[in-house]
């Protein structure tokens, strides 16, 4: 097998390998490298108690309760399912109802989640606060600006 033939064969082989690999990876990575789970994803798979996981979603409107100065509970939702969360600690600036958040912690039981850390997740929209209030006043405000 001559040197040029070896190379030619190898080029073809590499191309096939790369195509297969991209297909394998794209097919399999859809949900696997998630930094967090959404509440709905958690409902489908069985909830593991006492295992560190992260849940991401929005803080449900009208669910935020301040129990004491540093203890809070709220629900985290993705519009389909929601999970009840207990948290003791300091909340980040951006944390408020309707805002995205990622929480890290353990399930106390099937329904109650004990958060150890709360991250606020902000979206890719940036806009001046003056315009936002104008938009709200005129009724044009929606999340997908």
């Amino acid at each position: 097998m001559s040197l040029r033939y070896q190379r030619l064969l190898l080029i073809i082989l590499s191309l096939i390998l790369i195509i297969t690999a991209t297909m394998l990876i794209l097919y399999n990575t859809r949900e696997n490298i998630s930094y967090f789970y959404t509440p709905s994803e958690l409902n489908y798979s069985n909830i593991k108690i006492n295992k560190l996981i992260r849940i991401g979603g929005f803080v449900e409107k009208n669910s935020f309760n301040k129990v004491s100065s540093s203890t809070f509970n709220f629900r985290i939702t993705d519009d389909l399912n929601s999970i009840y969360v207990n948290y003791t600690g300091i909340l980040p600036d951006l944390f408020r109802e309707g805002q995205g958040a990622v929480i890290e912690g353990y399930f106390q039981n099937e329904k109650v989640f004990n958060a150890k850390t709360v991250f606020a997740k902000h979206d890719e929209n940036y806009m001046p606060s003056s315009i936002k209030s104008k938009l709200e006043n005129s009724g044009y405000w929606n999340k997908n600006y």
């Binding site: 490298i33 998630s34 951006l94 806009m127 001046p128 315009i131 936002k132």
Partner: protein, 230 residues
């Protein structure tokens, strides 16, 4: 456009454009900073902290752009045997590393008040950290081999292998759930940022590009001179 692949022509061209570029980068930086600090409005959610974006986003873009340039020059240099590509690679790698570092530092300064943490290991942040280490390794390769002709080729091959990381960085926020928000400005859709905040961002980006070009010109010229004296 021959000055992009030929060191003699580059020298001539660089001498012409260096001063304008330098002046332009300083002016743009000052204007951009004025816009960023005084003229741009507060964000409806993040308040004043959003101003970190005007440093964070340009440096992130430039760290990727620098790597992309290095990848292109590696291909050119290896495939068409143009030694100027190696010169550019050697000169530009530290600049990319600095931009990545600025991106990481400003990002964690932004993350602490907004997300509530300096650092998380989600896909975007991890891949950018990897990019930084890749830049470091390129610099290490460039200083630890004795033979110039060897190390430039090895570095180019390493750059090509490492370029697998680029699409991962770019699309990590779209492919996977991350704490990092998705891209604000993409080609396919209308940018989800208000014009009043878009202006300083663009000015700052152009300013960063010009700063990068200024340093790159200086470094490439020194690199050419060093190689002539071997």
């Amino acid at each position: 456009m021959r000055f992009l692949i030929n060191s003699k022509r580059f020298n001539v061209f660089a001498d012409i454009i260096f001063k304008p570029v330098l002046v332009l980068s300083i002016v743009l930086l000052i204007v951009g900073l004025i816009f960023a600090f005084f003229l741009s409005p507060d964000d409806y959610q993040q308040g004043s902290t959003v101003r970190i974006m005007y440093v964070h986003v340009p440096s992130a873009w430039l760290s990727l752009m620098t790597y992309l340039i290095m990848t292109v020059y590696s291909i050119i240099a290896l495939a068409f045997r143009m030694p100027f590509g190696f010169i550019v690679n050697t000169a530009v790698a530290p600049i990319g590393a600095i931009f990545t570092l600025v991106c990481i530092i400003s990002g964690s300064l932004w993350g602490k008040p907004m997300w509530g943490t300096w650092w998380v290991w989600d896909a975007r942040l991890t891949s950018v950290a990897v990019l930084f280490i890749i830049y470091l390794i390129i610099i290490f390769i460039n200083i630890s081999f004795e033979n110039v002709r060897v190390r430039e080729k090895i570095a180019a091959i390493f750059i090509l292998v490492g370029s697998i990381n680029l699409p991962i960085i770019k699309f990590s926020v779209d492919w996977w759930n991350t704490l990092h928000q998705p891209a604000t400005i993409s080609k396919l859709s209308k940018p989800s940022i208000d014009p009043s905040m878009m202006t300083p961002l663009i000015i700052m980006t152009i300013a960063f590009i010009f700063i990068g070009i200024t340093i790159a010109i200086l470094r490439i010229k020194t690199e050419i001179i060093t190689r002539e004296n071997i």
